[in-house]
Amino acid sequence: MIDTFVLSQLAIGVSVGMTYSIVAIGLTLIYRVLSAVNFAHGEVYTIGAFTTLIGATALKLPLWAIVPLVLLVGAAFGWGIERAAFRPFRKFTDEASLKSRAVREATLLSSFALGLVVREILDQVYHGEWLAIPQEYLLSNPVSFGGIHLSAGELAIGVVSVVMLACLQFMLHRTRIGIAIRAVSSNLIGAQFSGIDINRVVVAVFIVGSLLGAVAGMVVSLAYGNVQSFMGLTVVIKAFVAMVIGGLTSLPGAVIAGILIGVAEATAGIFLPSAWTEMVAYAMLLLTLLFLPQGLFARRRA
């Protein structure tokens, strides 16, 4: 019989992993459309958390009001990233120009720089401290079932993630913009010829991804109770790892890979001091890039 402690740790690992999954989805969507990486994506997560903080402390809003605020700020921020770091390099929207190496590298750097700027601004404003969210908002009540002990927040992360994934699936398959996104992801030229506006799809993808990321940041901040300006950076790197392991263009792959990373970290955490568990994700990344470069669920392009 597995120790309940181990079970609980694994459950937490799954929950943490789902955070990576949600953030990874944002990255994957962008990658599918632009073949580019958005390194400012982690800041969306951070902004979601900070918006929660501000909503709770400065604005003293009730929880149900904070949620739409986070969504709004998240979407706006995502739009901003696209405008500032990606749009300026997009002079033409044919496939070769859109996904050229020069543009991909330039946007990697520009989004990295933008993320850095945002992080540092937050760092300056809040002096790099870990800031606490008021007790009444937190989801820290313990919850147990089947031998697993978690906090309500950790459970909430899992539940909210599943709900968001369901919404995403709905959007991608049942709304016009979602179908447009899928069309552009699988066949850019075909989509263009069908009259789909590439720029609109790109903006939509950024907004959707940012919504997901911001909500993830919100839930995590409510679960663990504190926020810090650099919290998004570690998450986005692990989300990137999840994206790569998942096969770069596969959404289910990114989700599963995210959970795998979370579980791997939790497992490692049982045996190693916590500082070293950081390396689990990087080790997984390097191993994947070396031995399984196409990831677990690479989709075959038609």
Partner: protein
């Protein structure tokens, strides 16, 4: 015209070996001596990264790994085994070359952005290791009491002499990088960067050459790390956070990707700018983020572009009868 390349190099050497020390001696403060050495180390780092990211076209964020390996090798050896400066350099170069060759061999076949992220992962892993492997690296407290440069048993006296040693090594490193970049080898590496598949069809050994460049850049950075350790006499994990890699990369981009003069300019700016704007102190990171962003957006070729650099040093192509034949109609 044809002399321009040679005169630039000569002028720079004179600057480094005569003018600057004269200024430093006149100013008389060890602080400026230390600063000058930091600038020199930055130039070497930027130049080496430029070799990899500019000439070879491999966007990399792993500067701190090899720089740090070199620095810690120097620290550990000289503090615990009392080795002299040259031994430290040799040991660091050997170690970073081996590690560089291994990493290079493993990573080089990854395409651009994945190579970049893999190097980022390496950098972060290195930092985490340095921070936590206290037994080896003395962890967060850093390595104190690294002896100053000792050449052939004779302890290099004051900060001015220390500056000379650093300047000399800087010039040697620059010379090596210059030779590699402005030669047929450099040309081949640029061709591989421009179009790998095409370069392969021309018979160039693309993978091998990329690994070679990676190894060379690692070795040079390792040597720079030794220089830093001995001139600063203290190193700590904070010197090797991933952000430092980004800093050096910013220097390369701002100065000019693929151009050695650009890298020199970038290195100088990177160190002196925050010094000049002392008041902004811990806004350094923010400023660099903005500088990097604006650079990529507005001045992607940098302050001194590769095209200009190649034209400037055109006649420096070694042993080429081309410069002789050119007069023939």
């Amino acid at each position: 015209m044809s002399r321009s390349g040679v005169s630039v190099r000569l002028a720079f050497a004179i600057l480094l070996l005569a003018l600057v020390p004269a200024l430093l001696a006149w100013a008389g403060s060890p602080y400026f001596g230390r600063l000058a050495q930091v600038v020199l180390v930055a130039i070497v780092l930027t130049g080496a990264l430029n070799l990899l990211t500019g000439t070879a076209g491999l966007l990399a964020l792993d500067t701190v790994v090899f720089y740090g390996l070199g620095a810690y090798t120097a620290a550990i050896l000289s503090v615990n085994a009392g080795t002299s400066f040259l031994v430290d350099v040799a040991a660091a170069v050997v170690l970073t070359s081996i590690v560089g060759a291994i990493c290079g061999f493993a990573l080089v076949r990854l395409t651009s952005i994945f190579f970049a992220v893999a190097t980022m992962a390496l950098a972060i892993s290195f930092h985490t290791t340095v921070l936590n492997w206290g037994d080896l690296t003395r962890g967060p407290m850093g390595y104190r009491g690294i002896p100053p440069v000792r050449l052939f048993g004779h302890a290099v006296g004051g900060w001015l002499e220390s500056y000379y040693v650093t300047a000399l090594f800087c010039l040697i490193a620059l010379f090596i990088m210059h030779r590699v970049m402005h030669s047929f080898y450099g040309n081949a590496v640029r061709a591989i960067r421009e179009d790998e598949e095409c370069a392969l069809s021309l018979g160039l050994r693309t993978r091998l050459m990329r690994v070679q460049v990676y190894t060379l850049h690692a070795a040079i950075m390792g040597a720079a790390g030794v220089l830093y350790a001995h001139s600063n006499q203290f190193i700590g994990p904070d010197n090797f956070v991933m952000f430092e890699s980004a800093l050096v990369l910013t220097g390369v981009i701002v100065g000019g990707i693929g151009s050695l003069p650009g890298a020199v300019i970038g290195g100088i700016v990177m160190v002196l700018l925050p010094e000049a704007l002392r008041e902004i102190g811990n806004l350094r990171a923010l400023a660099f983020g903005i500088v990097l962003f604006l650079s990529i957006l507005l001045l992607p070729r940098g302050l001194f572009s590769e095209v200009r650099a190649l034209a400037l040093f055109r006649r420096d192509m070694p042993n080429s009868p081309w410069s002789r034949r050119r007069r023939v109609p």
